[in-house]
C-alpha cells in the first residue's frame, strides 16, 4: 500500500494552496520590499493599503504589524444575498466574472489565480477559495470584521446549503454523465470528491454490461477503434 490517503487533496493541503491568494492589508509598521518566489513585494508604508499573499498577511497579523481588510464578498450584506440566491435557485451561485483578457500576453488567468480576495474584488460572487479564506480570516482576524459572528453564521449557512446541493446532484448522474459544478469552491470539491467518484464508479459497475454491449454493437457496425475512443472522450464530459 502506498500512502493511506484518499485521492485528491486533503483539507490542510487545500488551505495551503489558498494561502497564496492575495489579500489586502493596512500595515502598521514599515517593511522593506521582499523578494518572494511569486514575485517581488513592494515595501509596506503604514497608511497605504497593500496586497500581499495570505500566509504573509496572517503572519503580520499575528505579530500585530498589520490589519487585514476583508474582501467585499465577506460582508454580511453580500453573503446574505448569495445565501438567498443559493436557497432559491437550484444552481450554484456563479463564480466571479473573469476580467477582460490582457492583450499582448498569452497567459489566461482562471479562478484560482485571480485576485478574488483583495479589497477591490467583486462583492456579489464567491471566489474559488471562499470557504478556506473566510474561515482562516475569521479565525486569525475576527476584530477586523464589522460583525464577525454574523459572517461566521452566514458562511456556515452557505456551506450547508451548497453541500446539500452537491449531494443532491448525484441523483441526476448516470454512468456516463456529469453534474454541473460551476462555481463550486476548492474545499467543497475536496470534500465531495470521494463521494461523487464513488457514486460514478458504482454506476459504471452496474452499467458495465450495457456499455460492453454498446461497444460490441459499435464494432459490428464498423466503427473504427479511433472513433470508439472519441466516443469514450464524449462520455467523460
Amino acid at each position: 500500500m502506498a500512502l493511506p490517503l484518499p485521492p485528491g487533496l486533503t483539507p490542510p493541503e487545500i488551505a495551503f494552496i489558498c494561502e497564496m491568494e492575495l489579500v489586502t492589508i493596512i500595515p502598521r509598521q514599515r517593511l522593506e520590499g521582499l523578494e518572494l518566489l511569486g514575485g517581488p513585494l513592494k515595501p509596506l508604508n503604514p497608511p497605504q493599503r497593500a496586497s500581499i499573499p495570505l500566509w504573509l498577511a496572517l503572519l503580520l497579523k499575528r505579530q500585530r504589524r498589520a490589519n487585514i481588510v476583508p474582501p467585499p464578498w465577506l460582508s454580511p450584506d453580500s453573503l446574505s444575498a448569495i445565501l438567498k440566491y443559493e436557497t432559491e435557485i437550484d444552481a450554484f451561485s456563479p463564480p466571479p466574472r473573469l476580467p477582460p483578457l490582457p492583450s499582448g500576453t498569452s497567459l489566461v488567468f482562471s479562478p484560482p489565480f485571480l485576485p478574488g480576495s483583495t479589497a477591490d474584488a467583486t462583492a456579489d460572487a464567491l471566489p474559488y477559495h471562499w470557504l478556506e479564506l473566510g474561515s482562516m480570516l475569521l479565525e486569525a482576524a475576527p476584530e477586523d470584521f464589522d460583525d464577525a459572528n454574523e459572517v461566521r453564521k452566514l458562511l456556515r449557512g452557505l456551506r450547508e446549503a451548497r453541500m446539500a446541493k452537491l449531494r443532491q446532484g448525484v441523483e441526476v448522474l448516470d454512468a456516463g454523465g456529469g453534474v454541473k459544478m460551476n462555481g463550486v469552491g476548492g474545499m467543497e470539491v475536496g470534500e465531495a470528491r470521494t463521494f461523487i467518484t464513488g457514486v460514478v464508479d458504482g454506476l459504471r459497475k452496474i452499467g458495465k454490461s450495457r456499455e460492453e454491449a454498446r461497444k460490441e454493437r459499435d464494432r459490428e457496425n464498423g466503427y473504427s477503434p479511433s472513433q470508439d475512443f472519441d466516443d469514450d472522450e464524449m462520455d467523460m464530459r
Binding site: P11, P12, M136, G190, K205, I206
Partner: protein
C-alpha cells in the same frame, strides 16, 4: 478491472444462484443430499455463482444443451426489483446479499436485462443521496436511519466510509484552525 485477490470479487462469486440440471449426471447427487446417487436432470440446486456459471457456459460434447441452466438469484427476483422500484430506500439489501450490486453486475453480464440496469442504477443513486446525508450529519447509532444504515451492501458501506472520512477531515481542519 478487479484484481485477482479482490476479496469482494471472491465473495461475490461465492454467492449462491439457483441452477437447474438439464442432464442427469452420475455421482453428483451429493449436491442434493443424495449421497451416492446421480444428479437427476430437472432438479434444482443452489450453486455458487462461479460454479454455476462454468457449468452453464460449458457445452456438452456433441449436443447443444448446456449442463445446467442458471436462474436469477432470489436477491434479484421480481419481488425485490419491484420493491426497489417502489422505494429503494426501504429495502434491506444486506440481508438479500452482502454484495448486492456486485452480484447484480455479474448477473447482468450473463443475462441481458435493460430494465434491471435501470432499476439498480436508480436505486443506487437514490440510496447514495441518503448515504451522503447520513455521512455528513451522523445522528448516532440509535438515531433515525440506523435501520437504513444496517441495510447497506458492501459497496454502499465503502461509499459511506469515504464520504464520512472526507467530511470528518474538513471538520478536523476547521477545529484545528482554532488552536
Amino acid at each position: 478491472m478487479s484484481s485477482y485477490y479482490d476479496v469482494d470479487a471472491i465473495l461475490t462469486d461465492a454467492q449462491k444462484v439457483p441452477c437447474t440440471f438439464e442432464l442427469t449426471v452420475p455421482g453428483l447427487g451429493f449436491l442434493e443430499g443424495n449421497m451416492s446417487g446421480p444428479m437427476k436432470s430437472g432438479s434444482k440446486v443452489e450453486l455458487p455463482l462461479w460454479l454455476g456459471e462454468m457449468l452453464a457456459l460449458s457445452q456438452n460434447m456433441g449436443t447443444n444443451t448446456s449442463l445446467v441452466s442458471l436462474d436469477h438469484p432470489t436477491a434479484l427476483s421480481h419481488r425485490v426489483l419491484n420493491a426497489l422500484k417502489a422505494d429503494a430506500r426501504t429495502v434491506d439489501l444486506r440481508s438479500l446479499a452482502p454484495h448486492f450490486y456486485n452480484l447484480g453486475a455479474r448477473i447482468l453480464e450473463l443475462f441481458e436485462e435493460e430494465e434491471m440496469i435501470e432499476i439498480l442504477s436508480d436505486a443506487f443513486k437514490s440510496r447514495a443521496a441518503v448515504i451522503a446525508d447520513q455521512a455528513h450529519n451522523p445522528r448516532g447509532a440509535l438515531g433515525e436511519g440506523a435501520d437504513f444504515m444496517r441495510g447497506l451492501d458492501e459497496n454502499e458501506r465503502q461509499l459511506f466510509r469515504a464520504s464520512h472520512d472526507s467530511a470528518k477531515a474538513v471538520r478536523t481542519w476547521m477545529t484545528d484552525l482554532k488552536k
